[in-house]
Symmetry: C2
Subunit: 347 residues, 2 copies
């Protein structure tokens, strides 16, 4: 089959690789219908996260079960399913508590020795614990299929951020980061009842999506001016909760600046400098909490899925560029240069 | 009157200063019955927190109302009262929500221009918002008076840490720091229903208090060995919550090492290097939350007071050295050299 492989920073190729096969009784082989490129893939693309030459890449996908091991109980050949961005056994104490990202047998797609999502097929370990079934009819609804793909990462990650930010009915929330996760954070905050959602961003195409997703205010300023703008919108106090969906020193500084005393920062941006932006003295004096991390998306899919199926949530607008497998390297380039927000792949 | 003054690192003096007087209608002048020295005072004593020469010091005290301004409604001359370690107006939006440490008119005893607690008397701003009345009979019960003094800071701060660590019935909690706050954190965790309380410490006199306060296990090891010991006590997973009551790089590293994935660190140690110990990558991968900060003790006093009055909570053992006002400089030296755990002062 053909799959995306990373050889070095800025060297993404689509190559012939061995077909995946059942290795364990609990495995499934999945034919990928849709995959996509994540903002976090760009850290590898830019060389800021180490990868071994030849490693697979991509961790967001949905597709059809092509083969199921004898130990798989919940899925049959032909089922349409979505995969979260880590696999998990569904049975350990962490999985039982919903923290599937800490599964004792879990792992990350594209890690050494495992398939990545940006290819024609994927071997899925612990299929019963990992996958979630989708209605078969969705396979022929392109818009819905696109929306459902967001369940593999960005929608659940936005939800995790909103929970970390402590969003509840009536909250004022600010969102740092205008990428797909930040935008899904806007959507998740609205779903949890936030009354005021302040999206920070200066690119009209993105802030328009934020408004469509439920943002009530857009702050285009940066630095001190952004702080002043948020203060003006919040009686001088700041937002009850902030979603930090970038992971840089500057984004974390901004998050701390604009959160209200006693508030919470839901951080889901993979840390790339953000530790340096953590002003612990300020956090201490102002009782600011930091909650979040890698989102246990598998746990959130059953809760979010009905809202996606009935159209209450439609994250599909975050995908603004569609490519075939051959065009994946160009997709990385487009996201890296911010000419695309998020790239969807039809292998 | 006489009060404690800090002139330079390691230069603490007890001097004649102007008698406090009512300046605002909402002031009270309080005659101090008991005060004490805080672990956080040692940061100033050691020169690690800046102080202007001649600044007052001390922020924990209880006493008797000697004079009340015309705008004071809740207190009369002769009332026995305890003060939390910051004053607060009791009426702003933060006070209304219980975050009295963020009061828009609040302040810290011993800050420039205000009285410190380690003296004969204190001018208390916003007395109605700040002070809490105690039963008059307590004034003649030396043990009870000592226990009640802990409400001014360490008991409420331990409670704040336990809340930040997410303690609930059945929790396993680990406590980093064997000072008065850490020990009160043990007591607070037990009160909130923790089933297992692991106190880290190697000084028998302190770990004995931890055991008396409710610790179920003592870990005397440090570094890697401490981590291994906590893992062994927790099925290899770590504690659901950790109380970080020190504030150094090493203590924060230890807290992150020994907390279970998905757990929470309740941090109340004033940061002195602890930001450097925050391994955000590890926290992100393991979904570790950081919650806490300066404790809104005023809010907690009404909840904790009945338990202290009826003897359910008796934090008095944390005070292991009693001095008069003249001996305060020696009290600092004793705490700095760790020959005393916490010094109580009878002016």
């Amino acid at each position: 089959m053909r799959a995306t492989v990373i050889h070095a920073p800025h060297d993404i190729r689509v190559e012939e690789v061995p077909d995946p096969a059942i290795q364990q009784p609990t495995d499934v082989v999945l034919r990928v219908l849709r995959a996509c490129i994540c903002g976090s893939d760009l850290w590898a693309y830019r060389g800021e996260s180490a990868r071994k030459p030849g490693q697979r890449i991509g961790h967001e996908f949905l597709g059809v079960v092509e083969e199921a091991g004898p130990g798989v109980n919940g899925f049959a050949v032909g089922d349409l399913v979505v995969a979260p961005f880590v696999w998990s056994d569904g049975t350990c104490t962490y999985c039982a508590e919903g923290l599937t990202t800490s599964c004792t047998q879990g792992g990350f797609w594209g890690s050494v020795g495992s398939d990545g999502g940006q290819g024609e097929a994927v071997r899925v370990p612990f299929a019963d614990g990992t996958l979630v079934k989708l209605p078969a009819a969705a396979a022929s609804d392109d818009r819905l299929l696109t929306a459902l793909l967001a369940l593999s990462d960005v929608l659940g990650t936005g939800h995790h951020a909103a929970l970390g930010a402590g969003v509840k009915p009536g909250s004022t929330v600010a969102v740092v980061g205008d990428g797909a996760v930040g935008l899904c954070g806007v959507m998740a905050a609205k779903r949890l009842g936030a009354e005021r959602i302040i999206a920070l961003g200066r690119h009209r195409s993105r802030t328009d999506i934020a408004l469509a997703f439920g943002a009530t205010d857009i702050v285009a300023e940066r630095g001190e001016a952004a702080l002043a703008a948020v203060r003006e919108l919040t009686r001088g106090e700041g937002a009850h909760g902030v979603i930090e969906a970038v992971g840089t020193e500057q984004s974390m500084r901004t998050a701390i600046d604009i959160v209200r005393d006693g508030g919470s920062i839901g951080y889901v941006g993979v840390p790339h400098g953000s530790a340096t932006g953590l002003d612990l003295d300020a956090m201490f004096d102002r009782n600011i909490a930091l909650r979040g991390g890698v989102a246990p998306v598998r746990t959130y899919i059953p809760e979010l899925l009905p809202d996606v199926l009935d159209g209450t949530l439609d994250p599909s607008p975050v995908f603004d560029l569609a490519v075939g497998l051959d065009q994946v390297p160009g997709g990385y380039k487009a996201m890296d240069e911010r000419t695309a927000l998020k790239v969807i792949i039809t292998p």
